[in-house]
Every structure is written in C-alpha cells, then in structure tokens.
Symmetry: C2
Subunit: 223 residues, 2 copies
Amino acid sequence: MTDDAIRAVIPFKKENAKSRLSEVLSETQRQKLALCMLFDVISALEKSGKVDEIDILNSSFSSIMNTEFPLNINVLLNEKSLNDALNEYLQKSAKHWDGTVFIIMADMPLVTEKQIIELTNMTADIVIAPGSGGGTNALLIRNPEKFHVDYYGTSFLDHLRIAKEAGLTVDVYDSFLVSTDMDEPDDLVELLIHGQGRSADNLRSAGISLDTKTGKLELDKNR
Amino acid sequence: MTDDAIRAVIPFKKENAKSRLSEVLSETQRQKLALCMLFDVISALEKSGKVDEIDILNSSFSSIMNTEFPLNINVLLNEKSLNDALNEYLQKSAKHWDGTVFIIMADMPLVTEKQIIELTNMTADIVIAPGSGGGTNALLIRNPEKFHVDYYGTSFLDHLRIAKEAGLTVDVYDSFLVSTDMDEPDDLVELLIHGQGRSADNLRSAGISLDTKTGKLELDKNR
C-alpha cells in the first residue's frame, strides 16, 4: 500500500448535462440530478478519508456562476474539451503536486467510501475502474507526468494502452457500483435499486419510482 | 471465513437462448455462444478451487441431448420454471447436502476465478452479486433450508427481502464483471472489451468486432 497524498479531480458540467435522460427528466431536473450525483461522489471521497484535496473541474462559467459548491472544495474552470482540460490539469499537477491524481466522474452516484478506499489501496502506477460500454469511471494516476488521458470511445482500452506505452503498471478495479454511470433512463433503474445517497432521493422526489415486477421506471402522472 | 463445502448450480437453457441477441447472431450462433459462456463460468468455478461439485440444471431435454458437457459435471434435468426448479433443488440440497449452495448464472462470461474466490470468502448467510437491471447473477446460500429464490423482476431486492424475513445475514458482492450478463447487443461490447475466455473468442470468430472509436459493434460483412 502506498501512502502518497491524493488529489481528486471531478470533471463537471451542469448545463445540457445528461441529454439522453431528457425522455424522463426536464432540463431543470437533470441539472438538479447532476448536482446531487456530484455531491454523492464528493461525499464518498470525503468519507473515505483517503483524499487530501478535491477539485471540481468545470467546463463552463455558467456551471460555476449558479452553483453552491461546498466550501472545502476547489472550484476550477477550464472551457477546453474534457481531454485537453484534464491533460492540462495532469501537467500542472506533475509540477506543483507531489503526489497522486485521482480522476473520478461526477455521474456515478452509487459509489461509496468503500470503493474509494479499495481502489486507492491498489498499488499499481495506474488504477482503472471501468465504466459500462468501454468507459473509464475512475482513474488513479500515481505518475501524472508520465500519463495522459483519452476519454470518449473505448477509453478503458486506450488508458490500458497509454499506461503500457509509458511503462506503467496497471490494476483494474472491478466494481459494479463504480461502473454504473447515469447516461440512459435504464441507468436510473440501478440508481433506484442500489442508490443510498441524495441522488436516489432526488429521483424519487421527482416522481420517478421503480416497478419491481418489471424492473422498469414508473413515472408519477402528477409530477 | 467459512470452510463449508460448496455445491454450485448453473441453470442452463440452450434452445431459444438469448433471443434479444438475434439482431446480431443467428440461432445457431446464439446456441454456440450460450455454450461458450457456460464453459467460461465452469472454468472460473474450477480454477477458483472453492467449489466441490458443479451441477448444470437444464430446463429442456433437448439441451442435454445435443450437448457435450465436461465429464466431471453433474447434468440435471428439470423442466419446471426457473424458480420452481431452483427451489426444488434447494430443498433437495438441504436434505442431502451438508453445505452451501451457490447459484450462478450461465450468461456472465466475464467472471474469473478471482470473483468466485472473493464472493465465496464473504461470510454472511447469503451473499448476493447483483446483475444489471435489478437481477441476481450469483447467490451463495449457506442455509438452503431457510431460503428460496425469486428470479425475474427486480430479484436483487426480492432476495434481500427473503433473506431478511428468514433472519439471515446478507453480504452484497460488488463486481462489474459479475454484474455483466449477456442479454442485449450492447452487452457484447463488454464481452469484446473485457472478455478473456472462449466466449469472447467465439464472438470474434463469428465476425463480430469492436469499433474502438465509437464503442459500437462492427459486423463483418462476409460473415
């Protein structure tokens, strides 16, 4: 086990977030859910006791303008694309932060402190937690100067390749709760079944529940 | 850690298996894939060294007739519904088997011995590994006389409730690899990305590959 300091960074976008959920949630509801999910992720990071700093990397000024973030969180703005913003972040961290960078997505509200502890306890240079569909939902980078990210497409395979090319060792962290991100209405089923945090509560208060016979979403007609 | 003997049972159906995959695989190809997945699950069980007996519980005589199962596997036939067949199996096990029953689905080809070892090392009376969409992909039952299964719908929640009503303790085993079953074409993407066994090879030899830019399936035009 390593005992290096860990800096977590959560890319975040409030506006036009999660457009594939528009079948069941309005723009305002999606923004609220996006914020709840972010807070669930922050809560897991904080409860884990494994993370020394938490940065939220916002992709638009309006995300920052209208949002109340917790006071102990650093709020950064970078309007570049996700990859460019994160790679810039990694380069800066390599210069100014003598430790590990932990990139974690904002839309995985099932994560708890248990997964954060287990993942950060893995000892390889790079620890990757896959998301569904070939994604990368969490990425621990112990050598930010030697690594760069490549999200979109099958980023899981890209990150394995980038680590290999850089001569870095890799552990894969296998977790259903971490792999489950909220892109499609079907993903909300997982949130209602397995969610313990405020995102699940938020969804229920938006009038969305689960038909346990069919396993499908049920939309409250009066919502 | 308990050191009780474990009897694994894998419900299996070859004919008309995985009808939702018919968009990309013919009936013959789906039958072949179903068998490969079964063998991947058996391989994980055997390599784990944790399982004393393996039973395949077939739901139709034709599944048995035309299939070559490994010699060390017990082949059972029960044409009742999945729930009835498994509950009968649990009752018989309670009478004739002084140990634990481990129900594991045949369509989760990403499982390896690592997950089997971790799951069976958990110490609660009941260990549940969720499948996507509220399913139950693996279920370790240390007291078969006190438990019954209820698959279909959100069986994960049903099994939690049944355990609670019976006064049994529950551990949830959190694994992306175990949660990923092969129901829809999108699931085959996971198999091509994360699969190490013969199911992934089978899919590739059926002319199905992965477009790593889009993360979508690519069908070989000459297949």
